[in-house]
Amino acid sequence: MYEDRIDQIIDKHGAEKGVLIQLLLDIQHEFNWIPKEAIKRISERLKIPYSQIFRVATFYTALSLKPIGRHLIQVCLGTACHVRGGAKVLDTVEDALKIKAGNTTPDTKFTLSGVNCLGCCAQGPMMVIDDDYYGGVTPTAVKKILEKYK
């Protein structure tokens, strides 16, 4: 089912030098993860060893070899958020969803990730759900924010 779309993405980039990471990012955005088929197809078409693509895909945090949930929750743990209690926010989200950071809820609704700075440091603690940015998040506000996505 993925193949046509994967081919389209590969075609879009063409055989330009150094295109691999941009290609994988596009695949990540399209499917929300990097399916095995994609790595195989890129390897065949661009003549890059499977192992090399696998290495790149596991090195970068934006690329995931596991499917991620419908909503991606990113809790910022950058320094500015840290000193204002970012870790507490993450704890509260973990409690609310009953999963640890880096995991997906069993119903695949949410994937929770603790990230190392989203660049909104003046408004910490920061939480981003999909494309929505929430600043100055307190543990008590977490529940209300999550409600919107349930």
């Binding site: 790149v56 945090t61 000193v83 408004q123 543990p139 008590t140």
Partner: protein, 643 residues
């Protein structure tokens, strides 16, 4: 739009744009960077557009969504032109009133800045203390530039530096000017920009590359995001001028994918610059050709290191290599490549236009120009601030930052990200420049400035950075990979109350090895957070290790929450908010925390009304036993009825 093929045509275009614009025309700008959007500025901007359209004012008002205006604490900001009236914390429902009053020439008083000391309302942005003490040159015109519209940039003199460089200067002249300006790299190390340029210029090999490093991974820093989102053309113009000086024909923007708006605005800026003839073949009719591409970073802190970043551009794993041959001589695909930070590039058009003499009139002996800092953490006015180099930490934190939040005491400021260090109160009067910060054991870095108050635990901060670096270490060299891991285990133990007597010595030993033997700057500087916290706050380490006490009351395993029975008013607020139902209490009964259930989230502490302040944190001492059930009823003296 036909490509501009001479400086004259550019000048004509600028005049045409300006002739259509009336300086005295009513304008409304809303700051709409990512931080503004976190507070709904994109939705408010849409509301402004609707409102303006509804009232048929489209011709009368120039409405702009501009980049981050810096005062991120008070986002979204709205500026009314031509008077430059500044409104803060603007909300959806304020929109009709703002439009209405702007047309009538009136002011919405409640949205103005109120001076916290005098209580006086301040009308114009330049008089607000947060802005008053800044010197905005790189960030200068950001409030009048819609980053999605190249004509806004051109109207303000944009690309005139490029025209000047291409037609009035030789590549060597440009290089000379940058050398005379003594510009130093804004990305961290403060390496002289002209030396890098020269080395790439003189290195054999074609093509040569120029690269913008916007892989701003330092936690707590976002200056580059602000610039790329708010004024991408200024960076692009600097890059093209640099390429001309160096003789590069291709360039890259390396932008981390965590900055989607920066990527979007840069993409558009490149497209527009191509259309207008600032990129591509025969730029502005000269014989200079240059093209540029965007490479999105896929999330790896270490990829901000120059050789790692160049590996990533080649589509490989972004890990560094030994640099006995510099990337300026052998970088992307083995070709000479100059990599500079976003802010460094943005300084170039200013230097070319205004001259090295002007530039060197700002700053200190060894550090010229201004620097943008992200002033964040426990300071009242958080945001992006641009100051002349040499301003003291005290002035930045107190005059611009408005001092510490909630009247707390300043403890330390962290500069330079994970490679930097902690600077304590005794050095607050030190001038901020590349060399002074180094003397204090920290570095300037890319400009993160995280202010900490008495509630910040220095051991916890050291642990935070070591864990961060441990996560981000690429694992290629042993000292960094293993050293950080061991340091992380030791620090985790210390904050968990399991510290041992020789832990400090072990940390120092590890720090020594990683700083000497690591391959790249990530490992080499990784010891700074540990060493500086040890240098200035060793007593805190000792309290954690010897007394199992966290003096700042931060480390979860070493503290307990406790409700003071003398102060508790039985208001139920903490009881209702506790996420794990650990608070036993009823209305008008003194509440008690069930220590076995408590997860130490601190919610009760945060929600307890300040006039009660009944919830306390304690460390290094046992929690007092709960008062007996029968004594919990609160008896308030009845108010005497007046006869």
């Amino acid at each position: 739009m036909p490509r501009l093929n001479s400086p004259k045509k550019l000048e004509e275009l600028r005049k045409t744009i300006l002739s259509k614009r009336n300086k005295n025309k009513l304008g409304i700008s809303i700051s709409s960077g990512t931080c503004g959007r976190a507070y709904g500025s994109d939705k408010i901007a849409a509301e402004f557009r609707r409102e303006i359209k509804k009232r048929g004012l489209k011709e009368k008002i120039d409405f702009r969504e501009v980049g981050c205006l810096g005062f991120c604490e008070r986002e979204p900001l709205v500026i009314i032109f031509p008077e430059r009236i500044c409104y803060l914390n603007v909300k959806m429902e304020d929109v009709p009133e703002i439009v209405d009053t702007a047309v009538k020439g009136e002011i919405v008083d409640r949205l103005l800045y109120t001076d916290p000391v005098s209580g006086e309302k301040i009308l114009h942005d330049e008089n607000i203390p947060f802005y008053k003490y800044q010197k905005k040159i790189v960030f200068g015109n950001i409030n009048s530039i819609d980053p999605k519209n190249i004509e806004d940039y051109i109207a303000l003199g944009g690309y005139s530096a490029l025209a000047k460089a291409l037609f009035e200067m030789t590549p060597d002249d440009v290089l000379d000017e940058v050398k005379k300006a003594k510009l130093r790299g804004r990305g961290g190390g403060g390496f002289p920009t002209s030396v890098k340029w020269e080395s790439t210029k003189n290195a054999p090999g074609e093509p040569k590359y120029v690269i913008v490093n916007c892989d701003e991974g330092d936690p707590g820093a976002y200056m580059n995001r602000g610039l790329m989102e708010g004024n991408p053309h200024s960076v692009l113009e600097g890059l093209i001028i640099g390429a001309y000086a160096i003789g590069a024909s291709e360039g890259f923007f390396y932008i981390r994918q965590e900055y989607p708006l920066a990527v979007e605005n840069t993409k558009l800026a490149i497209k527009q610059a191509e259309e207008y003839g600032f990129l591509g073949k025969r730029i502005l009719g000269s014989s200079f050709n240059f093209k540029v591409k965007i490479h999105e970073g896929a999330g790896a802190f270490v990829s901000g290191e120059s050789s790692a970043l160049m590996n990533a551009i080649e589509g490989k794993v972004g890990e560094p290599r030994p640099k006995y041959v510099h990337t300026s001589e052998s970088g992307v695909w083995g070709k000479p490549s100059t990599l500079n930070n976003v802010e460094t590039w943005a300084n170039i058009p200013l230097i070319i236009n205004k001259g090295a003499e002007w530039f060197t009139s700002i700053g200190t002996e060894g550090s010229k120009g201004t620097k943008i800092f992200s002033l964040v953490g426990k300071v009242n006015n958080t945001g992006l601030v641009e100051v002349p180099l040499g301003m003291s930490l005290r002035d930045i934190i107190y005059k611009i930052g408005g001092g510490i939040r909630k009247g707390k005491k300043f403890k330390a400021v962290q500069t330079g990200g994970p490679s930097g260090g902690i600077i304590p109160a005794e050095h607050l009067d030190s001038p901020v420049d590349f060399d002074e910060l180094k003397k204090l054991g920290s570095i300037m870095g890319s400009g993160g400035m995280i202010v900490m108050d008495e509630d910040s635990c220095m051991v916890d901060i050291a642990r935070y950075f070591v864990n961060f670096l441990c996560d981000e270490s690429c694992g290629k060299c042993v000292p960094c990979r293993e050293g950080l891991k061991q340091a992380s285990i030791i620090l985790d133990n210390i904050v968990a109350g399991k510290g041992k007597a020789d832990d400090i010595k072990k940390l120092v030993d590890i720090a020594e090895v990683t700083s000497i033997a690591s391959l790249c700057a990530l490992g080499k500087t990784s010891a700074n957070p540990v060493l500086t916290t040890l240098r200035y706050f060793e007593d805190e380490y000792e309290a954690h290790i010897n007394e199992k006490r966290c003096p700042a009351l931060v480390c979860k395993d070493l503290i307990s929450y406790y409700i003071d029975p003398e102060k508790c008013q039985g208001c139920m607020i903490c009881h209702r908010n506790c996420p794990v139902d650990a608070i036993i209490g009823e209305k008008m009964k003194i509440h008690v925390i069930d220590q076995s259930k408590c997860i130490k989230c601190g919610t009760c502490y945060d929600v307890c009304p300040p006039n009660f302040s009944a919830v306390k944190k304690i460390s290094g001492e046992p929690v007092p036993p709960p008062i007996p059930e029968e004594e919990r009823l609160i008896r308030r003296p009845r108010k005497e009825k007046r006869d």
